[in-house]
Symmetry: C2
Subunit: 195 residues, 2 copies
DNA sequence: TATCTTACAAAACTTGCCATTTGTAAGATA
DNA sequence: TATCTTACAAATGGCAAGTTTTGTAAGATA
């Protein structure tokens, strides 16, 4: 029985959208609950019926972006294609996702780094989803004898070796350069080494 | 013609030592020039005859540590030994150097991260020294046909692939774990891939 | 009964002032 | 003449006031 004409879920989504807009415009430090509430036509206290606290609202923004990334990555897990190519494209996609966020949405990206603490459940979910996706690709490559070794160990090696292409601090540091070719070459060397 | 009985260089070194001691004890934010000066038995203004400003004193501390690291790494460049083993030990040494700094000297490490901007000449010097050392090892490995490819490209690949083992943010993140075995295995895979 | 408002308490963030620290200049000393 | 001191100016840091923002509780409304 809402008073706003919106369901709880709709209001949540609208609140998230408003938050993103204000983060983009003014930076996340300047996002005020009263402003968000004003945009939605309610008082700030009403937001507490939908979000536990301000952090939960920010978390929702981050979660949304992480789910987007998971989806983008999932598109490269097509079982009909060559697994090694899939892994390469998967890593390149991850690299690009982080890169584009930094480049085209720097304010949102700062918010993301501020919020995305490793211990939060939705971050854990994102990480384990990524590991699962990558592990499946690796297992497929192992099944087709394209590489050899222990699946889990190889997953960690790929993630470790490509850290400089997807870790936030490093993506920022190299933001000027087009490092996609270097990433592709590095993966080729890795795959050769795992054969 | 010093009034302190010390040469400029000696006083500089003493100032650096006092700075390190105070950084360790109280954190770098609380290092006061007047305290350093008191330790040396001069007024704070006297320090400006030896250091351009406070930042220059802090830089000298960082430079000292980087030169130490360069020296440690140089010890693994012995031409009589197997180049691939040297590269492995070199990378492990780099990993350990960063790790130990974080673990046993966290205050000094914070100071280091505060000071070590990439654009400072002594940081540039450190980086180019490291690249030179590694390039020589790679060239030796190429000469002995242990691996194949372009020396400079391989240097960058090794540094990229091992970023997660020596980049400050990541070293901190994994500080609990003993990742030396993982680093060694990763390098083995890389070397196989470069054969 | 979930969602909202009003009213209020707690926490975090400004603002302005004073104390400390950093940096400079002019001159003393070895 | 390089190094140092004294004296001073500029910048920074810390604290206490008031203000804004966040979070809570009690009750209204659909």
């Amino acid at each position: 029985m809402p008073k706003t004409g919106l369901t709880s879920e709709q209001l949540k989504q609208k609140a998230i959208a408003c938050t993103i807009e204000r983060m983009r415009k003014f930076g996340y430090e300047k996002v005020r609950l009263s402003d968000i509430a004003k945009d939605l036509g309610v008082t700030h206290a009403a937001l507490y019926s939908h979000f536990a606290d301000k952090a939960a609202l920010f978390d929702a923004v981050t979660e949304k972006w992480l789910l987007d990334v998971d989806e983008k990555l999932a598109a490269h897990c097509d079982p009909s294609k060559n697994p090694l190519e899939c892994i390469t494209n998967w890593c390149v996609e991850l690299h690009k996702a982080k890169r584009e966020k930094v480049q085209f949405d720097p304010e949102l990206y700062r918010a993301f780094n501020f919020c995305a603490q490793i211990d939060k459940p939705f971050v854990q979910h994102h990480i384990s989803t990524m590991r699962l996706q990558l592990k499946e690709l690796v297992e497929r490559a192992l099944a087709q004898k394209l590489i050899r070794g222990d699946a889990q160990e190889i997953v960690e090696q790929i993630l470790d070796a490509t850290t400089s292409f997807h870790h936030p601090s490093l993506v920022v540091y190299f933001i000027e350069q087009d490092r996609e070719p270097a990433l592709r070459k590095l993966l080729q060397v890795l795959f050769r080494g795992l054969k």
